[in-house]
């Protein structure tokens, strides 16, 4: 009976979800209630963008703004499948954003806003990076013995894990690429950039690594001591916590850099307002405010010149390959094969 009831609730939820469409995590509203709001759909928690949004609303007091947070898949679904009338879409899932743009669902951005941006920070005039963040390695307290130095490359990380198998048994965490879009993107990029990735997967599999859906969960477990190592953690989340809880390391063989990108969907009602908002995000002031909110450097070409290990994930249709069903299947099969040791 209970089971039946549970099934009924599930069915109800499913049908509700179908009626509501995509699943949202947060829905916030600012500014005068009677004005038509500028609707922003984002994968980013409001806290991170709060400084820049507040500044924007101060600058435009007549403007009201709705900020909806959803997971990257839901954000994609809202636009690609449900054609929701959002005015700005900001997402950290570069591949999905690229697919929206490639499939002709984005409207050109104001040309003057894109002027001066480096080529890696935009794709055509459809997609633009508003923030960059490194994908980092985090080490919890006790991960290193007193005399040990933190690893600076994947090779060193591998050596550290192999040499101290007992210490790290069950205490390594990473994204589950089968579950997390971001995790899959990072893994695919890793596989593309370095052969070490597969050896790392083997080692992690041998040591019964834990797999996570999100960076925040990984950080939580690291802080409680459940984990000692978090591999491929989003820099913005890592930086948000006090540095004394764990060590944040940008590996020097390469450190992937994720771009948070924005676009204006074709289905936007307020394309003008959206363009204005993006113009603000890309202004020097806007970039500085985003950087403050995320605790990360703003979009700037010089960051990559100074830190040659930083690799921005290429913002181009190559990302589409990551979304390919069959390719994904094959990749995950390989990955599983590496993780699960006979």
């Amino acid at each position: 009976m209970r089971q039946v009831a549970f099934a009924a609730v599930l069915t109800l939820l499913a049908s509700l979800r179908a009626a509501m469409g995509f699943e949202i995590e947060d829905d916030l509203r600012f500014g005068p209630p009677d004005a038509t709001p500028l609707e922003i759909l984002s994968t980013t928690d409001f806290v991170i963008l709060e400084p820049v949004i507040t500044a924007y609303l101060q600058q435009n007091p007549a403007r009201s703004l709705r900020y909806v947070v959803a997971s990257s898949q839901e954000v994609y679904r809202a636009i690609a499948e449900e054609h929701r009338a959002f005015d700005v879409v900001i997402s950290s899932a570069m591949d999905l954003q690229m697919k929206l743009a490639n499939d002709g669902l984005a409207t050109p951005l104001p040309a003057e806003a894109l002027r001066g941006l480096p080529a890696w920070a935009r794709w055509r005039d459809l997609l633009v990076a508003v923030a960059q963040e490194p994908v980092v390695l985090i080490l919890g307290k006790g991960a290193l013995a007193a005399q040990e130095t933190p690893p600076s490359t994947r090779r060193e990380l591998l050596a550290l894990l192999r040499d101290n198998a007992d210490r790290f048994e069950g205490k390594i965490g990473s994204y589950d690429p089968a579950v997390s879009g971001a995790g899959y993107l990072f893994a695919a990029q890793d596989a593309r950039l370095s052969d070490t990735f597969w050896r790392l997967a083997e080692v992690m599999g041998r040591m019964n690594a834990r797999l996570y859906c999100c960076s925040s969960d990984m950080i939580d477990d690291l802080r409680t001591g459940t984990l000692l190592v978090g591999y491929n953690v989003l820099g913005s989340y890592a930086m948000a916590w006090a540095k004394d809880d764990f060590q944040v390391i940008e590996l020097e063989d390469y450190t992937l850099t994720l771009l948070r990108t924005a676009l204006i969907p074709k289905s936007a009602n307020e394309a003008e307002g959206a363009a204005d908002f993006i113009r603000f995000l890309l202004s020097d002031n806007g970039k500085a405010l985003i950087a403050r909110g995320a605790g990360l450097p703003a979009i700037e070409a010089a960051a990559f010149d100074r830190n040659t290990h930083l690799r921005p994930i290429r913002l181009d249709p190559g990302l589409l390959a990551a979304l390919d069903r069959v390719t994904r299947q094959r990749f995950l099969e390989e990955w599983r094969a590496a993780m699960v040791q006979p």
Partner: protein, 454 residues
Amino acid sequence: MAVSLRRRLVWQLLALSAILSVALFVAVRIGAERASEVTMDAILGAAAQNMAEELRVSDGGVGIDVPSGTFSMLAAMGEERIFYRVDVGQLTVTGYEDLPLPEKVPTALVPVFYTVPFRDAEVRIAAVARSVRIEKTLRPALVLLGQTREGQRSIAAELANRAALLGMAVFLAAIPISLFVARGLIRPIDSLAEAVERRGPRDLRPVRHPAPTELLPLVTALNRFIGRLRGTLSQTETFIAEAAHHIRTPLAIMRNEAELALRQSESEAARDRLRRLIRGADDAARSAGQLLDHATVLYRAEQADLAKIDLAEMVRAVANRLHAAAEMKDIDLQITVEEPLPAEGDAVLIEAALRNIIDNAIKYSPSDTRVEISAHRIGKNGEILVMDRGRGIGAASPELLKRRFRRGENVADVAGSGLGLTIVAEAAEAMGGHFELFAREGGGTCAKLLLPLS
């Protein structure tokens, strides 16, 4: 309204170069688009085949590695959008299910290219066929790889714009070039004209100046015209001579016969009639002579036959010829000539002028007087003065007397046609000189003829 040949030529050359630059623009635009299309098709085809080679069969079925590097590369050329679709049998394995299939099924070796509208864009697609063996049956597989060509088109447009700029430069360069060419083309015409212009007035030989083939019809026509002109002119000259002969000979007979009759006649009344007859004959002869002289002067004035002459020598010669006429009236001719007075002129015209002036002076001078003839240099001109003690020019204005058939009011009793001074004035003018007639101090007339010296 005459159209300048040069201007027309320049306009035509400019129009031609304008057409050429437009043609260049169009050709480059089409050519660049086609060339880049061929190149990009080759890359797209290779990428599609590359992708098809990744098709493999695994336990779960058909697998494919969509090569992200290939996508990046394809898209990088002008930031194109990428679409793909992989079908095995009738089933779409992965990619865009709605990507249109080719009309013609491609072979395993040669990709098929086609352009279709897809998702608000024109998409160029390369289709490659393969076959995969699944569970012991061979199934056809189709790999479609498409890209937009917007960047390529903008590159082609930019190339064409550059070509248009080049064409514009060519057009601008064509302006001085066409001027130069026009000048070069016109030059033979100019030199022909110059050659014709340079000829002497009596030079009626056919034009032998070298001319381009295109100008030969003109030269031929010109020569034919010169031939006709030569005929007409020689006819005119012959006519003048013949006319003189045919008038003068009967007049001479008439006059002679009258004079004989006068000598033989005893009747005073008959003699008076004969005198009038002779006077009439003299008048007629003189008029005819002056009319013909006048015609000759007019004809010569049109095309003066310039030669080196000595004015002093001519004055002396003409005065000497008229000596007999003066002697008849016991008139002394006093000749004062400063020699030499070299000039360039038509001897016939100058002689006509001199003879008429001196003849006039003798004619209107009473017997036993003196006619003073002098020639000397004054500045750049030779001045010839003929002064008599005749009846003067009376009340008539000197300018009036120079007009045709106009005679002084005080000379009705002297035979004359009124053309003498006209001949002088016209001859002087034709030679770039000047003729003046004024009353002489102490009675009589002074005729002044100014002719330029060389």
